[in-house]
């Protein structure tokens, strides 16, 4: 039953074919069975999950109306706070911290009867593209345990690909939902900035961070999107408008007449041959489904990566200042003789990993007086140019498409000592965060050279998230028909047993 889609599981719970408790227990057993190999989870809250599941079962028994995903388990990225449940953001500096409140997304999940299994591994404070930067060790890609599951949300995507959970929450600052989805053969959506509340999402880069749904199918992602989306007075930057009709769009399975733009700058040099091959085939599938394919140019995308690596570190240098040992988390060197400032320094020295320190230093430098205009100021101008590129493109087409990531999953350790090579993983995903619009990654096949999943990125204008689901849903249906079932059927079982 753990291989079913979330929507099928929800239907089974609603119909009384299975209890949420049994469903949850099945996933907990699966985690117990395979997570030693995958290491998707940093914390499994078995007790809390079972209690939530029993509450859903009780509500059903009383004849209460259940929400569309009631009783279905979910894996929560460890960057999202859940009251009383350890939240580390993959960092030693938060080891042992139990948040005193729920993120808005968590509140919405709880209200919808979604069962939270636990917290998933991630690059420390969401800084990375491989989950190797977690202070608690890397997550392994279920398709090949020697490879990375993407990052920063590698734990969430790996939990889906390992059938430890049918749903997950990710967060995407430069591609942290989409790139892990691409390399694990799952679906991940970065909603429009402001489409999902950031309240309770531990900030990496406030103007770029966006929580979103992760799932194995487009429809499941849409169902989850509808639950977590919407305005929140606790997040001033959340958009005060209804959630786009993503579920209806996911069910349309029709792209006839849609104008689909292929971004010239996102492809070609630096992209793996098998990735480009699967992408080009997907373009032909869309053409075959009746979409009009138009090549568009976004000339300023080439500046997106440098701009991102000024804005994100700048904001992170400020956002991470609060980890100072005064009120929560790690405290190092408090011997009653040292000053508060000395304890702050020792704690931050011991608590942050090298990538986090690298970005704090970069950002501190970029915001310094005398450098601000040249760095942060220029980066903001690039941001405007990228928004202009998108606006020009969306004047011609309804959505844009590109490969999600230039390569398939690489080997653990392969790029660990080369930050720049690591940063290039997000070259196709970063422009969307800078502009604040929305994008989805869906699996589009296995690369012939390594047999690993390839992701296709669909990009839509702000608050047109429904278009992602319309295109994604249609493409997924076409692929499943061509492949004779979902891509996940081709994934290794991890246990050698039947799936």
């Amino acid at each position: 039953m753990i291989t079913q889609n979330a929507s099928e599981m929800a239907a089974a719970v609603a119909a009384g074919e299975i209890t949420s408790e049994a469903l949850t227990q099945a996933h907990l057993s699966r985690i117990a069975e395979v997570d030693e190999k995958v290491h998707a989870f940093l914390h499994v809250d078995a007790e809390g999950a079972l209690a939530q599941a029993r509450a859903v079962d009780a509500a059903r028994a009383k004849g209460e109306k259940l929400s569309p995903l009631a009783g279905v388990p979910l894996a929560l990225k460890d960057v999202m706070v859940q009251k009383g449940v350890p939240t580390t953001c993959g960092s030693k500096i938060l080891e042992g911290w139990r948040p005193p409140y729920d993120a808005t997304v968590v509140t919405k999940l709880k209200n919808a009867g979604v069962v939270i299994l636990g917290k998933t591994n991630m690059d420390e404070f969401a800084m990375g593209s491989s989950t190797e930067n977690s202070a608690y060790g890397p997550t392994h890609n279920p398709w090949d345990l020697t490879r990375i599951p993407g990052g920063s949300g590698g734990g969430s995507s790996a939990s889906l690909a390992a059938f430890e959970a049918p749903l997950a929450i990710g967060t995407d600052t430069g591609g942290s939902i989409r790139q892990p989805a691409a390399v694990t053969g799952t679906v991940g959506v970065k909603p429009t900035y402001g489409g999902v509340s950031r309240y309770g999402l531990v900030a990496f880069s406030s103007s770029l961070d966006q929580a979103g749904p992760c799932a194995r199918t487009v429809l499941d992602a849409a169902l989850l999107h509808e639950i977590i989306g919407g305005h929140d007075t606790y997040d001033s930057t959340s958009i005060d408008a209804p959630v786009p009709a993503v579920v209806a769009a996911a069910k349309m399975r029709n792209v006839k007449g849609m104008r689909i733009g292929v971004v010239r700058e996102l492809g070609g040099e630096g992209y793996q041959a098998g990735v480009l091959q699967r992408f080009n085939e997907s373009v032909e599938v869309l053409r075959g489904l009746g979409a009009e394919i138009i090549e568009v140019s976004c000339p300023h995308f080439e500046y997106a990566l440098p701009a991102y690596y000024l804005i994100a570190p700048s904001e992170c240098s400020s956002n991470l200042a609060r980890f100072d040992a005064m009120r929560f988390g790690l405290r190092v060197g408090d011997d009653r003789a040292r000053s508060a400032e000395e304890v702050m320094n020792l704690t931050r020295e011991a608590g942050f990993g090298p990538e986090v320190k690298r970005r704090i230093i970069l950002g501190t430098y970029a915001l310094s007086s005398g450098y601000y205009d040249a760095y942060y100021g220029s980066a903001q101008k690039v941001r405007t140019l990228i928004i202009n590129d998108f606006n020009a493109a969306f004047a011609q087409v309804d959505v844009l498409i590109s490969p999600t990531s230039p390569t398939t999953a690489f080997k653990i350790g392969e790029k660990a000592d080369d930050p720049l090579a690591m940063y290039l993983n997000d070259i196709a995903t970063i422009p969307v965060n800078l502009a604040g619009n929305c994008a989805m990654s869906i699996p589009c096949g296995l690369a012939p050279e390594d047999g690993l999943p390839v992701g296709l990125q669909i990009i839509a204008p702000a608050m047109a998230d429904d278009r992602l689901y319309r295109v994604g849903g249609a493409l997924e249906a076409a692929f499943n028909e061509a492949w004779g079932g979902p891509l996940m059927n081709m994934a290794p079982s991890l246990t050698g047993g039947v799936r």
Binding site: L94, R198, Y199, E341, S369, Y372
Partner: protein, 502 residues
């Protein structure tokens, strides 16, 4: 280690001062600037906190609309332009009492800018108006408080450990910054004081703050620099922090001018630094040097959307502005028929508002004025507190004036009532009752005391009968003594003379 000071007259003979004033005002909103926490002063430590104002990971600020409204009102009252679009900014620095290690403030886009405030100062040539130009009025959040325990001074130096109270963290603060104020000459300390006093009156009339300097709801940083007379070269300024009374504003500026001048006379440089003012000695001492100036790495606060006050709303707010205190003063001066000097003394003593309230409660303006400027101001001065904080309210004074007018209290008894109120014995009627201060107005009791007096000093009585009214004094004294001072002397005199056929 007190520094050399030049005589004030010599300072003025040689140097020209330039003032700069930064005032922080805590708004009296019910909730904090960026969360829903209460803002009650003096609550148990860390009882008015939440994930937002504690800077818990994942929490986000949301703006208190009321604070924006209050800030715009302040800007309008200070003749400022109001921004049509502005943003909050983060001011980054590490400090244990600042939960996020950045303060949400405003940087290059203040919500109000380019205003002025005219203040009146009594000069050798009568009242003179000085215009203090306002550079900006902006919003920010207050920090928490560190309590340094175990040391002798309460300062961090020498303390064993520190406790943190975050109740104040996130309380809305408005910072009002003047442009440099030249041309105040020897009146610089008075102009500084008058500015803060006028500002305080305006803020009080707007109802946006408690403006209590001793509680820190109004905090003043006073800057001053000196340039050699006629040189046109601006001197190095020092910044005296948290000067917490009107009188201290004046003293701190004067003291700094004298200290700067002494250094300059000795060929020394004035160091650009923060100074601490000491109420007891009236001098400042060096605080943090600004030589290693902090780089606050300001950038627009990405967690908050820009503020774009609707111009129509701003005009609505403008229409609600109360009468300007200077206009109120001119009107009252006419109504109460008093001279410039008397008005100035009320303003100086910071009692105008309470006098107005007392009068509004029905008291005679002359009486109300004399109580506040006289006895109550004297008592406040003795205790080193502001008049409005000495513990007497306008309704107390109005009641005391009423009791005197009704003949229930003499002036002398009334002063004892004031003492009692200040001592915390309750409201005037409580003090009258518990201290038994009622005038003996019972004719029977008085006549009995008069008869006793006549009997005990027959000679004096005879003189009065013979037309020597001066001799009545001795008899009245006896009666007052017998009634322990609680009789109305005029009434005693009247009854006595009648008794003796006069």
């Amino acid at each position: 280690m007190s520094e050399a000071m030049l005589d004030y007259d010599d300072v003025i003979a040689k140097y020209e001062p330039t003032l700069g004033l930064e005032v922080h005002v805590e708004l009296n909103t019910n909730s904090k600037m960026f969360c829903g926490c209460a803002t009650v002063f003096g609550a148990e430590p860390n009882t008015q906190v939440c994930p937002v104002c504690l800077g818990m990971p994942g929490s986000l600020p949301f703006v208190n609309e009321r604070a924006i409204e209050s800030t715009i009102l302040i800007g309008l009252a200070l003749n400022c332009e109001i921004a049509t679009w502005c943003r909050f900014a983060r001011k980054n620095y590490f400090y244990p009492d600042m939960p996020k290690n950045f303060q949400i403030s405003q940087y290059d886009e203040p919500i109000c800018f380019n205003g002025y405030l005219d203040v009146e100062v009594e000069t050798d040539d009568g009242m003179r108006t000085f215009r203090v130009e306002i550079e900006r009025v902006h919003m920010e959040e207050d920090t928490g408080k560190s309590l340094h325990m175990g040391g002798a001074t309460g300062r961090i130096h020498g303390a064993d450990y520190s406790l943190l109270d975050y109740n104040r963290a996130g309380i809305p603060l408005v910072e009002i910054v003047t442009k440099m104020v030249p041309g105040t000459e020897k009146y610089a300390p008075l102009v500084a004081k008058a500015y803060v006093a006028e500002l305080r009156d305006i803020l009080r009339s707007l109802g946006v703050s408690d403006v209590k300097m001793e509680q820190g709801s109004l905090r003043c940083d006073a800057n001053v620099s000196l340039s050699p007379r006629g040189s046109g070269v601006l001197g190095t300024r020092s910044e005296t922090k948290n000067v917490n009374s009107l009188r201290s504003v004046e003293r701190a500026i004067r003291s700094e001018m004298q200290r700067h001048a002494a250094r300059l006379d000795d060929g020394l440089k004035v160091v650009q630094e923060t100074r601490h003012f000491h109420e007891d000695s009236g001098i400042t001492t060096s605080g943090r040097s600004k030589e290693t100036a902090e780089d606050y790495r300001y950038f627009p606060e990405p967690d908050l959307v820009p503020i774009a006050p609707d111009p129509a709303w701003v005009e609505e707010l403008r229409a609600t502005l109360p009468e300007r205190p200077s206009v109120v003063r001119a009107r009252l001066q006419k109504e109460w028929n008093i001279a410039d000097k008397e008005m100035a003394s009320m303003v100086n003593a910071g009692v105008l508002a309470v006098v107005m309230e007392t009068v509004a409660l029905g008291a005679d303006s002359t009486k109300a004025r004399s109580w506040w400027v006289g006895e109550i101001a004297r008592q406040a001065n003795e205790r080193g507190v502001e008049v409005i904080d000495v513990g007497v309210t306008p309704s107390d004074v109005a009641r005391i004036v009423e009791l005197v007018a009704m003949g229930e209290l003499t002036d002398k008894l009334a002063r004892q009532v004031v003492d009692g109120v200040i001592a915390g014995e309750g409201r005037p009627d409580d003090v009258v009752a518990t201290r038994g201060l009622k005038v003996v107005s019972d004719d029977g009791a008085l006549l009995l005391a008069i008869a006793t007096a006549i009997a005990s000093d027959a000679a004096a009585a005879e003189k009065v009968r013979g037309g020597n009214l001066n001799a009545a004094g001795a008899l009245i004294g006896l009666v007052m003594k017998a009634t322990q001072g609680q009789a109305d002397a005029a009434k005693v005199r009247e009854l006595l003379l009648k008794e003796l056929g006069q």
